[in-house]
C-alpha cells in the first residue's frame, strides 16, 4: 500500500518534469506567435509575453504586402513539392534493386552509394562543379544536387528487406517482372515509410538554406529560408512596410516575428499528420548493412 503511493508520487513528479520539457520546447514558439499578433506599441513597451497584446494582424498584413516575400513563399512551396516527388522516385529506384541478393554487381553499386556518405568532395569543388555545369543561378540547382539522400535510401532499403521474400517469389511465379512486383506488392506495403521519407525530404527542402546562399545569387529564385535570413538580419527590410512609414525598430520586430511564423507554420501544419510515422522510420535507419 505504502509502496504504490510512493509509486504514484513518482509518476506525478515524472509527469511534471516532462511538462517542463514541453514548456521549454513550446514557449519560445508561443512567444514569437504572440509578438507577431501584437501591436507595435505593445512591443515597444515590452508588454508582450505569451499572449498577444492589443491583438492585430498588422505584421502579417505588411509581410504579405511584400511581393518578393510572398513570391518566395510560393516558389519554395512549388520547389518543395517537386523536390519531394523527385527524391521519392529516386529513393525507390535506388533502394529496390539493391534488395535483390542475386543481382550481379549489387555489392559494387551498394558500396558506390554508401561511400558518398563518408567522403564528399567539399564545398569548393562542389561549387566549382555547379559552375562547370552552368547551374549557378539556375533553379535546377535547388533540385538536382540533393535529390537523393543515401541515409533515406538506407531507411527504405531496410524496410523493403523486411518484406518476406516469399511474397516476391510467388509473384514471380505468376510471371510478374521486378517492376510489376515493385508497383503491386512493395510500394503499397511501404506507404508509412514513404510518408516518413516524404516528410524528411519536404522539410529538408523547405528548410534548405546553404545551397541557395551559395548557388543562387539571383533574388528571383531565393527560397524562403534565404529570404527570412535577410529579414531577420536587416539585410532586406520589408520594402512596402518602410514605404508606409512602418519602419520604427519595434515595428520591424513584429515583421520579423511574422516572417518567422510564415516559415514555421507550414511545418507545424504537416507535422501532426506525419509524426506518427517517422519514429519507425528513424529506427529503421539505425539498422544498416
Amino acid at each position: 500500500m505504502v509502496k504504490s503511493k510512493k509509486r504514484k508520487a513518482g509518476d506525478l513528479i515524472i509527469a511534471a518534469v516532462c511538462f517542463l520539457f514541453i514548456l521549454i520546447c513550446l514557449l519560445p514558439l508561443v512567444h514569437i506567435l504572440a509578438r507577431s499578433l501584437s501591436s507595435a506599441q505593445a512591443m515597444i513597451n515590452n508588454r508582450v509575453s505569451f499572449w498577444p497584446v492589443e491583438f492585430t494582424w498588422e505584421s502579417y498584413y505588411y509581410v504579405l504586402k511584400d511581393k518578393a516575400f510572398v513570391r518566395s513563399l510560393g516558389w519554395t512551396a512549388i520547389l518543395t513539392l517537386i523536390c519531394t516527388a523527385v527524391s521519392l522516385v529516386m529513393t525507390i529506384l535506388c533502394s529496390y534493386p539493391l534488395i535483390y541478393d542475386s543481382l550481379k554487381g549489387r555489392k559494387f553499386l551498394n558500396g558506390m552509394m554508401l561511400l558518398t556518405m563518408y567522403f564528399s568532395a567539399g564545398t569548393i569543388p562542389n561549387y566549382l562543379l555547379m559552375k562547370q555545369l552552368h547551374l549557378i543561378d539556375n533553379p535546377l540547382v535547388l533540385i538536382l544536387p540533393n535529390c537523393l539522400s543515401i541515409f533515406n535510401m538506407i531507411i527504405l532499403r531496410s524496410f523493403l528487406y523486411g518484406i518476406p521474400d516469399s511474397l516476391r517469389e510467388s509473384a514471380q511465379l505468376d510471371g510478374g517482372g521486378p517492376f510489376a512486383i515493385l508497383i503491386r506488392i512493395y510500394l503499397p506495403l511501404s506507404k508509412p515509410v514513404l510518408a516518413t521519407l516524404a516528410l524528411f525530404y519536404a522539410v529538408g527542402r523547405w528548410n534548405g538554406f546553404s545551397d541557395a546562399l551559395m548557388y543562387v545569387p539571383n533574388p528571383k529564385y531565393a527560397p524562403i529560408q534565404l529570404k527570412l535570413y535577410q529579414v531577420i538580419n536587416n539585410l532586406s527590410a520589408i520594402e512596402v512596410a518602410q514605404q508606409e512609414g512602418f519602419s520604427a525598430p519595434s515595428a520591424s520586430e513584429g515583421l520579423k516575428a511574422a516572417s518567422v511564423m510564415f516559415a514555421t507554420v507550414p511545418i507545424l501544419l504537416v507535422y501532426p499528420y506525419l509524426q506518427r510515422y517517422f519514429i519507425s522510420g528513424v529506427t529503421l535507419g539505425a539498422v544498416k548493412e
Binding site: G10, D11, I14, A15, V17, C18, F21, I22, P28, H31, R35, N46, S49, M90, Y96, P97, L98, Y100, L109, M113, T116, Y118, A121, G122, T123, I124, P125, N126, Y127, L128, L129, Q132, L133, C147, L148, G177, P178, W206, N207, F209, S210, L213, M214, L228, Y229, I232, S250, K256, A257, V260, A263, T264, I267, Y271, P272, Q275, I279, V282, V287, K288
Partner: protein, 309 residues
C-alpha cells in the same frame, strides 16, 4: 557447347533483371555527376587555380602542398579549427547525456497519451531550420527588447548580451543545439529500451527493486551498447562542421569564437575567391573526418556492435 549454355544463362539473367539495372541507372548517374565528378575538382587544392583556365589547365603549385602550408600558417584557419573542435566537444559533452536522461524519463512516464504528446512536442524543434531558430533566438535574447532580458531586468538583474559576447555566444550556441536536438535524439534510445526483455523488469519487481534501481540495473545496462556506439560515432564526427547553425547565429563581434571550418571555407573561398586555399582546407577536413569515422567504426565493432557500415 558449354560456352553456349553460359551465354544463354547470361542472356536469361539479363532478360529477368534488366529492369532492375534500368532503375539503378538514374541513381548511379546522380552519384557520378553530383558526388564523384566534383571529386576531380579536388585537384585544385594542389594547383594555382585560375578561373579562366579551369582546374585542369591551371599549373601545379610549387611546392605541391603550398596551399596546405599556407592554410596552416594562417591565423584564421587555426581559429576556425580550434572553434570547430571546441564547439563540437561542448556539443558532445552537454548534448550527449541529456537525450539519454530524457529517454529514461519518457520511458518512466506512466500516462500513455501524455507520453505520446510529450514525445511529439520534444521532437518538433528538430524540424525547424537554423534560420528559423536563430530568428527566434535573436528576438528572445535581444539586449533591451528580448523577453529574457526584460525578465532579467524585472528581477533586478543586469541585462545580458547573449549573442555578442564570446563566452555567452558559445553558451547560447550550445543551448540552442540542445533545444533543437535533445528530443529527437531520444528516439534511438527509446527504441533500444523497447528491445529490453520485460521479464528482467518483472524479476526486479519480485526482488523489490525501486524505480531508480530498475533504471540503474535493467534499463541502463539494456541500452549500454547503444550508448557506446553512439558515443563513439559522435566522437568520429568531432571535426565535422555544420554550416547553417554557425552561419545563422554568428556576427562580427564574436567571429573569434564562432567561425568554424565550414563558414571559413565559405567566406574565404566562395565569397573571397581563394579557391585553391579553401579547397585545401576542405580536403584536410574531409580526410581527417574519414579517418576518424573509420577508426570510430572499428572501435564500435570491437564492442560487438554492428557499427555503421
Amino acid at each position: 557447347m558449354k560456352q553456349k549454355s553460359v551465354t544463354r544463362k547470361t542472356i536469361l539473367y539479363f532478360k529477368k533483371t534488366w529492369t532492375l539495372y534500368l532503375m539503378m541507372a538514374l541513381p548511379v548517374a546522380f552519384a557520378v555527376i553530383f558526388r564523384y565528378l566534383p571529386m576531380t575538382n579536388i585537384a585544385m587544392a594542389f594547383k594555382e587555380y585560375n578561373m579562366f583556365k579551369g582546374v585542369w589547365d591551371s599549373p601545379w603549385s610549387t611546392p605541391i602542398f603550398k596551399w596546405f602550408i599556407t592554410a596552416f600558417s594562417t591565423r584564421d584557419f587555426w581559429l576556425a579549427l580550434r572553434n570547430t573542435l571546441t564547439l563540437n566537444l561542448l556539443d558532445l559533452f552537454f548534448g550527449f547525456p541529456l537525450p539519454i536522461m530524457l529517454a529514461l524519463l519518457l520511458n518512466e512516464l506512466a500516462f500513455r497519451r501524455y507520453k505520446r504528446f510529450t514525445q511529439a512536442v520534444v521532437y518538433l524543434p528538430h524540424f525547424l531550420s537554423w534560420i528559423i531558430i536563430s530568428g527566434i533566438a535573436m528576438q528572445l535574447l535581444a539586449p533591451r527588447t528580448g523577453i529574457v532580458n526584460v525578465g532579467l531586468s524585472h528581477l533586478g538583474f543586469q541585462t545580458v548580451n547573449f549573442l555578442t559576447e564570446n563566452g555567452l555566444y558559445i553558451g547560447t550556441y550550445i543551448a540552442l543545439g540542445l533545444w533543437k536536438e535533445m528530443g529527437w535524439n531520444t528516439i534511438i534510445y527509446l527504441a533500444a529500451i523497447t528491445g529490453i526483455n520485460p521479464e528482467l523488469y518483472e524479476a526486479a519487481e519480485v526482488d523489490g527493486a525501486s524505480r531508480l534501481r530498475k533504471i540503474w540495473h535493467v534499463t541502463l545496462p539494456g541500452i549500454r551498447s547503444t550508448i557506446i556506439v553512439l558515443l563513439v560515432m559522435n566522437l568520429g564526427r568531432i571535426l565535422g562542421s555544420e554550416f547553417d547553425r554557425p552561419y545563422a547565429m554568428y556576427n562580427s563581434l564574436v567571429m573569434n569564437v564562432a567561425d568554424v571550418l565550414s563558414t571559413y571555407v565559405y567566406r574565404v573561398g566562395v565569397r573571397g575567391f581563394q579557391f585553391s586555399l579553401t579547397a585545401a582546407v576542405g580536403l584536410f577536413q574531409s580526410l581527417v573526418c574519414v579517418v576518424f569515422l573509420l577508426t570510430a567504426n572499428a572501435i564500435a565493432k570491437k564492442f560487438g556492435e554492428r557499427g555503421i557500415m
